[in-house]
Symmetry: C2
Subunit: 218 residues, 2 copies
C-alpha cells in the first residue's frame, strides 16, 4: 500500500543545506504493522510527515494505494489526510481551548460522521480517559495528552495509522493498553506504522525498519 | 535535603474538586539519586512542581535544606528556583524564538555567570548537540528538544536536579548519554530526582519511590 522510492529531503537554513533523508526506499503491504526505529535526530519524524502527506520530498517517489502522491490535487490530498490516514504527532498538536472530547470529535466532524460525540467518547474510553473527557489539554498530564492525540488519530478507524512515538510518555501498563487498541485495529485491517524507541512497543510489530545515516539500514 | 510531610494537592474545575496528591510524605537525603515512578496521571508532575517551588501544596509541609518553603519570601523563592534547582520539564518549555545555545544560556545569564556561551556550548556538547547549537526548537527533532531542555537544567550545575521524564523521546543509546551526564553530576554532589517510565533510566537511581492513589506506595 506504501512504496517509497529513493526519497531525499533537506532543510535549508540560510545558506546551509542539511540533508536528512538520503535515498529512503521501502515498501509496506496492506495490513502490515511495522516499527520504524533509529537514533534521535535520524529523520524518523521527517519520514512520517512525508508518509502522512504533510510534507513533500525534494526528490523520489511516493506511491500510496497505487497513486503517485506528487500528482494528487489539493482536494485529493486533503481527502487522503482526513479520511485515509490517522496521524499521532510526537508533540500531540492538541487544540488548547477545546476539551479532550471536542479534540477527538474534530476528525469525525470533518469527515461528516454521525454520532461524533459517542464515537469520540468510546475512543477516549479505549485509552483509559473516560473520566477526563471534559478536561482541556492544560488540565491533563503528559501521558493523558498523548492518549488524547492517539484517540483522535484512531477515532475514524483510518486505513493507515502513522504513530510517532505513541508511548513515549506512558508507563508500561498504560502503553500496553494503547498498543492493544492498535493491535485490534490492525486485526480489522488497518496498516500501521509506529515510530518508537521502546522495545515493548516495537514487539507489537511484525517488522522493524531502521533509519540510519538518512536511509534504511540493511 | 528534602522533606515532604503529608502533602495534599487538588485542582478545582468549576464545582468539581479533583484531589491528586493525598498525603504524600517522603525524605530525600543530600546527594541521593532517586526515581519517581507511577501510572500516567498518578500525580508525579504535580509532585515535581511542588518540589521545584513552581507550585504550592494545599496543605502539608515542604522542608528544603532545613527551611520551610511556605515561609520563604518571593525573592528567596526566586533565588531557590534560579540558583539551587535545575528543572527538566516533561514538555520542555523552550523559548521558540531563541537558538538552542541561547536557550541554554538563559539560566547562566540570570544567575550572573561569566562565559555563558562557552558553558552553554559545553552542556549541549555533553548531550550530543554540538552540531545543533544554532537551531531553534522548531528546527530540532523531539529528542533534540528534550536534550536542549536537559542541557538548560544542568548548565548551572545546580545542587538539586528535578527531571520529569528526561528520556521519553530518546533511543536507548542517546538516553544512556544523558543519564551518564546526570550520574557525573550526582558524583559531584548533586541531589537528583527523576520521574521516569523507563526501567533503564530508573536503574541509574539508588532508590525508587512509587506514587499510587495519590500517595507513596508502601
Ligand atoms: N525545520 C528544520 N530545519 C533544520 N533542521 C531540521 C528541521 N527539522 C528537523 N531538522 C533536523 O532534521 C533531523 C531529523 O529530524 P527528525 O525530527 O526527523 O528526527 P527524528 O528521527 O524524529 O528524531 P527524534 O527521535 O529525536 O524524534 C534532525 O537532526 C533535526 O535537527
Ligand atoms: N490544571 C488541572 N486541572 C485539573 N486536573 C489536572 C490539572 N493538571 C493535572 N490534572 C490532573 O491531575 C492528575 C495528575 O497529573 P500529573 O501531571 O501530575 O500526572 P503524571 O503522574 O505526571 O502523569 P504522566 O505520567 O502522564 O505525565 C491527572 O489525572 C490530571 O488529569
Ligand atoms: Mg521524531
Ligand atoms: Mg507527568
Amino acid at each position: 500500500v506504501v512504496t517509497l522510492k529513493n526519497i531525499w529531503k533537506s532543510y535549508l537554513m540560510g545558506t546551509v543545506k542539511l540533508t536528512v533523508l538520503k535515498g529512503v526506499s521501502l515498501e509496506i503491504t496492506r495490513g502490515e504493522m511495522v516499527a520504524i526505529v533509529g537514533k534521535s535526530g535520524s529523520g524518523k519524524s521527517t519520514l512520517m510527515n512525508i508518509l502522512g502527506c504533510l510534507d513533500v520530498p525534494d526528490s523520489g517517489e511516493y506511491i500510496l494505494d497505487g497513486r503517485d502522491v506528487a500528482k494528487l490535487s489539493d482536494d485529493q490530498l486533503a481527502e487522503v489526510r482526513n479520511r485515509k490516514i490517522g496521524f499521532v504527532f510526537q508533540n500531540f498538536n492538541l487544540l488548547p481551548r477545546m476539551s479532550a472530547l471536542e479534540n477527538v470529535e474534530v476528525p469525525l466532524l470533518y469527515a461528516g460522521y454521525h454520532q461524533a460525540q459517542e464515537r469520540a467518547f468510546h475512543a477516549l474510553e479505549k485509552v483509559g480517559l473516560a473520566d477526563r473527557v471534559k478536561h482541556e489539554p492544560g488540565q491533563l498530564s503528559g501521558g493523558q495528552r498523548q492518549r488524547v492525540a492517539i484517540a483522535r488519530a484512531l477515532v475514524t478507524s483510518p486505513e493507515m495509522i502513522l504513530a510517532d512515538e505513541p508511548t513515549g510518555n506512558l508507563d508500561t501498563r498504560t502503553g500496553i493498553e494503547v498498543m492493544e487498541f492498535f493491535k485490534m485495529l490492525n486485526k480489522e485491517g488497518a496498516t500501521i506504522i509506529v515510530v518508537t524507541h521502546d522495545t515493548e512497543t516495537a514487539e507489537y510489530c511484525s517488522r522493524i525498519i531502521k533509519i540510519e545515516d538518512g536511509a534504511v539500514a540493511l
